[in-house]
């Protein structure tokens, strides 16, 4: 079996972890959306807010993929790495935007990522 052709299928703990990341990302996205459009808000219409809008949207999409979809194993691993980078980057942005709720969302997402990782390696099936 060639690894590059293998498909990663998430097991139960991985699925729950990914769900948690997705929920945290979705909540974070909504918070950013509200912040961006709040008239006279402290971070309304700011590039930084737009950046975390994009980063949380990407996190939601990527966590949905690793949680619910199947993909080549290498891509699966890449997504895991990208998601943790996204979580950490968004958390740093949240800190400097002084958005406590977004920061809390990223802590939850981090817990989800660890949970996801603790689920062990995904089951592999040949393509």
């Amino acid at each position: 079996m060639r690894l590059s052709n293998s498909i990663a299928i998430p097991d139960r703990p991985s699925l729950n972890g990914a769900r948690l990341i997705a929920i945290a990302a979705a909540v974070g996205f909504v918070i950013c959306l509200v912040d961006y459009f709040t008239p006279h808000g402290a971070i309304a219409h700011q590039w930084g807010t737009l950046l975390v809008l994009v980063s949380t949207a990407l996190m939601l999409w990527a966590s949905s993929w690793i949680g619910f979809g199947t993909m080549p194993h290498r891509l699966f691993t890449l997504f895991r790495v990208l998601i943790i980078l996204d979580i950490l980057g968004t958390a740093v942005c949240a800190y400097f935007l002084e958005s406590t709720t977004l920061l809390v969302c990223m802590v939850v997402a981090l817990i989800g990522w660890i949970w996801h990782l603790a689920g062990g390696a995904p089951r592999i099936s040949a393509s």
């Binding site: 006279h40 808000g41 402290a42 590039w47 930084g48 950046l51 935007l97």
Partner: protein, 635 residues
């Protein structure tokens, strides 16, 4: 040393709190009171409960615009609300007056003079608010026994009945006094009344603002007027410039607020620099009142004393705020003093009866101008006690800004002339630190008269002044739009135009190293600094930069008897309460835009309110608003 001073201060405050004089709990003037102390004896909000402050009421006046140089023009909301006659009065950048219910913000009446929405003498429309007078012998049933005044950019002063909001027809011409009738250079620009007049007894003392930084030698002389508060009749004129200087110079006007000693009736004028601002070759006469503090008899306009703070000013270092009058206990004596904050960063502490310095002022040699025809002064007044709010030397280039711009900051700096404070403008471009934007701006400082403490916020900014020969100026500005030419000033009638701009890189980042602003407290009995802390935060793309950077500040603090400082002023659209003893921020709240006006505090029906006008200032950020917001403790 600072720690010891803080402990001493805490002890002094504990002892002194009980003996605070029973001052009014109104907020009757732009500066709180005539002495410009910005101090209130209101004591309901304390360092212990300030964290519970909540919005009590807010209104949006509708008077704001972000259109630059158009109609309507950009707005600068700098009005301090006043609380008198059981009413909160506030002026707007469209020169309307709002009379508000003090506990709900409900509108009682609005006065609208229907002024043109044009920025005639300033980059935008602005008002610093209203003034109030009431008759000492009110006639029952008659209107205009209490009057609210607001000035406009077209040089009109409106007198409005404080109860009804209707024009007082017995004042000047049907309630409107045209200050421009006294313009010595008609056809240049109107003498804009952006700062409310100073009211003492039955006298209005009126200064005005213009466009002196832009226009050159032919400008109105900066005369100050004493006008009858009830009738609008001219009582006296103080001629700031000698007659022989008026042909080639102008201004040296009083555009900032003034203070009055109610015991002596002396009014203290912060006199600005003469025109043209950045080249003085055609004003070689002695102009002793230019860039000075000048004390006048408020009833006659006669000079009591005057002290020049910058000789032959070529930096636009206007004296730009009302001197704070406070008594200083020193060597067993109580000295009637004043503290004058300045753009150049010095705090001048003078005996307000004589004008003599309480802490030494030293004449020091300064860098000389190399511009042909300039007649710069070889020395300038320096103050070392109290410690200047801005140091003699700048902090150097910001590494982050330099790296981000590919070394642009360093490349620009290498081409500039910089010899420290008072580096004169030059053809190559001079780095000015502090420049005309300060230092300390027009809010000035605040005083706790009980403990002899003076508090002031300041900015650390760097600008570049480059003189351009007339030929170069014309070539450079040819074809520029009004917005592109916003930092180019013709100084017409002189051999040089000038390009004055912030030292930014191409990304719009400041090229000078932080901090950008701070808040300081001084013990004026010793002149010692008690504490100095970076104040406010800078936001870039929404991200808050480190607190140690602070923020450029416009606005001023107020102090309450309980040892609290309330202040907006920072770029981050936040208002704060700060512990007077330590400088620690105890409370903060987001408002719609930077609150660049002086806050006000008052007690109404047993409840203390702190009111901020959060209108913004495009000099800080493009974020502007029309919000007036009052905070109070929950019932």
């Amino acid at each position: 040393m600072l720690k010891t001073a803080s402990i001493a201060l805490a002890a002094a405050m504990a002892l002194g709190a009980a003996s605070a004089s029973a001052q009014s709990q109104n907020w009757g003037t732009y500066n709180g009171d005539l002495m410009a102390q910005k101090y209130s004896t209101a004591a309901q909000i304390t360092p212990q409960n300030v964290k519970n402050l909540k919005i009590a009421w807010q209104i949006h006046t509708g008077d704001h615009s972000n259109k630059a140089f158009g109609v309507p023009a950009e707005t600068y909301s700098e009005a301090t609300p006043i609380f008198v006659n059981n009413t909160v009065y506030i002026g707007t950048p469209f020169y309307r007056i709002f009379a508000l219910q003090p506990d709900s913000g409900k509108v009682k009446w609005i006065f609208d003079p229907h002024e043109p929405r044009k920025a005639l003498t300033q980059p935008g429309m602005k008002s610093r608010g209203v003034a109030y007078w009431q008759s000492a012998n009110p006639q029952a049933g008659q209107p205009c026994q209490k009057i609210v005044y607001i000035g406009s950019m077209t040089a009109k002063l409106y007198a409005v009945d404080a109860d009804s909001g209707k024009l007082c027809t017995g004042f000047a011409q049907n309630g409107v006094l045209n200050i421009d009738q006294w313009n010595t250079a008609k056809g240049t620009w109107p003498m804009s009344i952006l700062q409310p007049p100073t009211v003492f007894k039955n006298m209005l003392i009126i200064g005005w603002a213009g466009k002196d930084w832009a226009i050159g030698s032919h400008a109105p002389a900066g005369n100050v007027f004493g006008v009858d508060a009830a009738t609008g009749k001219l009582k006296w004129t103080f001629n700031v410039l000698p007659p022989e200087a008026v042909k080639t110079s102008g201004t040296a006007n009083v555009w900032a607020s003034m203070s009055v000693d109610p015991k002596t009736g002396i009014v203290y004028l912060p006199v600005s620099s003469p025109s043209p601002n950045y080249w003085g070759g055609n004003r070689k006469e002695k102009l002793p009142y230019a860039t000075s503090i000048t004390a006048l008899d408020s009833q006659t306009g006669k000079v009591v004393w005057s002290r020049q703070l910058v000789h032959h000013d070529i930096w636009d270092y206007d004296t730009n705020s009302a001197p704070v009058l406070m008594d200083i206990k020193k060597d067993g004596q109580t000295i009637p003093a004043l503290v004058q904050s300045t753009k150049q960063g010095f705090l001048f502490v003078l005996n307000r009866a004589t004008g003599e310095p309480i802490y030494p002022i030293t004449e020091k040699p300064v860098p000389r101008s190399d511009i042909p025809g300039e007649a710069d002064s070889p020395t300038q007044p320096y103050v070392s006690i109290p410690q200047p709010v801005v140091p003699d030397k700048w902090n150097g280039i910001s590494r982050i800004s330099d790296i981000a711009s590919g070394g642009q900051c360093t490349r620009i700096f290498k081409k500039l002339r910089y010899d420290g404070r008072f580096t004169p403008p030059s053809l190559q471009g001079s780095l000015e630190y502090p420049p005309t934007v300060g230092g300390v701006e027009w809010g000035g400082g605040a005083a706790d008269p009980v403990h002899g403490i003076y508090v002031v916020n300041n900015s650390y900014t760097a600008q570049i002044y480059q003189l351009l020969s007339r030929k170069d100026y014309d070539a450079k500005t040819k074809g520029m739009t009004q917005e592109e030419a916003a930092d180019y000033y013709p100084q017409s009638g002189t051999p040089y135009g000038v390009y004055v701009h912030n030292f930014f890189n191409w990304l719009g980042m400041p090229c000078w190293a932080p901090p950008y602003g701070s808040l300081s407290a001084y013990d004026m009995t010793t002149g010692k600094l008690l504490w100095k802390k970076p104040f406010g935060e800078v936001q870039w793309w929404g991200f808050y930069m480190p607190k140690s950077w602070g923020s450029v500040t416009i606005g001023a603090p107020i102090i309450t008897k309980t040892g609290l400082i309330f202040i907006g002023a920072s770029m981050d659209s936040r208002v704060r309460a700060v512990d007077l003893k330590t400088g620690k921020v105890l409370w903060k709240a987001d408002v719609d835009a930077p609150s660049v006006a002086i806050p006000a505090t008052y007690i109404y029906k047993g409840k203390q309110y702190v009111v901020f006008s959060a209108g913004g200032n495009p000099l800080l950020t493009p974020k502007i608003s029309d919000q007036v917001v009052a905070f109070a403790l929950p019932s």
